[in-house]
Structures are given as C-alpha cells and as structure tokens.
Subunit: 171 residues, 2 copies
Amino acid sequence: MNAIGPWDRFDEAQAQVLHGNGAFLVAVDATGHPNAMTIGWLQLGTIWSRPVCHVLVRPSRYTHGCIEARGAFTVNVPLGTMVEELTVCGSRSGRDLDKFTELSLRTTPGTKVKAPLLVGCGVAYECRVVARAELDPTGILDEGIRAKYYPRGDFHTLFFGEILAAWEINA
Amino acid sequence: MNAIGPWDRFDEAQAQVLHGNGAFLVAVDATGHPNAMTIGWLQLGTIWSRPVCHVLVRPSRYTHGCIEARGAFTVNVPLGTMVEELTVCGSRSGRDLDKFTELSLRTTPGTKVKAPLLVGCGVAYECRVVARAELDPTGILDEGIRAKYYPRGDFHTLFFGEILAAWEINA
C-alpha cells in the first residue's frame, strides 16, 4: 500500500467510474459494521483550499445514514477488477445483507478515518466529511437529467470529504 | 487550439488553482459583455454519467448573475502565467470595471457555449450549467471551514457545468 498524491491516478479512476463498472463507496454504520455501495459518479478537486472528494448519495440508501453517523467514508476504485463485487454492492442493500461477509471482502483499516479500505482496489481515498448540500427540484436545470435520474424526486445529497490520504493498494 | 479529453491536464490544472495563482472563471452578463473572476477552487469528475466541472460562486459576485443569466461558463487555467490578470480579476468587480478591456484580454469564442475562451491560458473548459445547489449553515460541518470562509454567512452557490469541450490553448 503506497501513499500517492490525491490527483495521481485521477484519469484511471474516472475511466473506471464512467466507462468501467464503478467504484466502492465504503462507510461504517452505527453498530460498527462496514458497508459498501457501488458508485458511478465521483469528483475530485480543490475546495476550501484542500483536496476534496465529492460523492452523491440518495437519502434512501443505507450508506447515506452511515456517512451521516460517522462523518467519514472511503472511495475504493478497482481498476478493471472485482466486477462481481461491484454488481452485488450496486444491487443489494446493507440493510438486508452484510456485503463484506457475503463477498469475503478483505479490508485494511483506514489510517486517517474510521472506515476501512478494500484490498484489491487499485486506488483508494480516505475522506473526512467537511460539508454537504442537497440537490432539490429547483437545482436540476437540465430536463434530461431530471427525467432520467429523478423521476421520483429522490434527489441526491452531495457529500464533500476532505481527502486525508490517497493510496495505491495491491492484493 | 487543440481538443483534449476533459481529464487530460487535471493534475496541472489542480496545481495551478491550489498552489499557483488560480484560474479564470468567465461568463457573459445580460448585456453581452464577458466578465472574468479569479477562482482558486475547482472540481472535475463524473456526475449524471457525463464529465462535469464544479465551481463555487458567492451570490454577491457579479459572475453569479452572469452564470445564472446565461447558463454557461468557461474555466481558463493559465499554467504559471497571467499573474497580473489573475490579481486584477480576483480583486475588482465586473460591476465597476470592464476587465476584458482594462487588461486587453484576448479571447476566442466558445465553440459549444456562449462564453469566450481566454487566449494565453494553457487549458480551458467550456461548460453548460446543468445543476446548482446552495451551501447553507447546516451544510458546513467543519468549524474551521466555517470560521475561515463563512464568517459573514455568505455561502457559495455550487454550479455544475457539463464539460462540452476541453482545450489546450496557446498564445
């Protein structure tokens, strides 16, 4: 596990989320169990003069409550691998299934936040939530986006996590 | 002016906004005049399955109304150059000064949006606003951020622009 700069593998991470099978957003629930959901959207960059990772989570998702409860998350980007795990984490809820046990996911503790990192992912970010904002009906200005992603009005919460560490992780 | 992928110069752009003197956020006002403000914060990445540029603008800024009126902006990143221009665009308002005339800024029309690109900047993005959100007191979870950036409660609007074109521009 090698420390990298927060932007060092940006293009590969974006290729994986946009054109690959996504990445794992990991957070810990109120009882201490980690949960992973699959995300296909991810932004990185500078806000408040620090490196920030931006993820979007609908309030209905189990992960939403985990991030709120703990104020931390990790993003783990498998570069072309872990396709089955991404499929399960994108289709099953942590309310009903302990995905870490079910998928035998191997973890290593976060070094800066109380959320684990996934072994086997090429790149990972440890993030401390510093801000959040809510999308709402007045905020979606593109009708195509509204029709495709928000037909039921379940707008995302935007979580902004300061990147406290970035890693290359190998199996 | 060469077309590039939206992530191709990400690391250099981030180095310029975070450790350099910033970048130019350009938008056109209701009368058709372009205006530029200096930004030090910028995120790129995938949202709504498309490349998105995220900029933060306080409602008090002249640029805020320009982006709202036109629904478009460009981000122009001078890689180590245009220090004086960045200083002026970061300290003077477009309400009081035609910065393009004052600074003799050379422009070329956007190819996809009705906002110009700045000649002399190394990298530029043409963006169509697809969504916005508001930061508010409940959304700033880090007390240090609140104290440093929002002592007067003037929270940023988050503008999300689909990147319709990205360019390397030379003088």
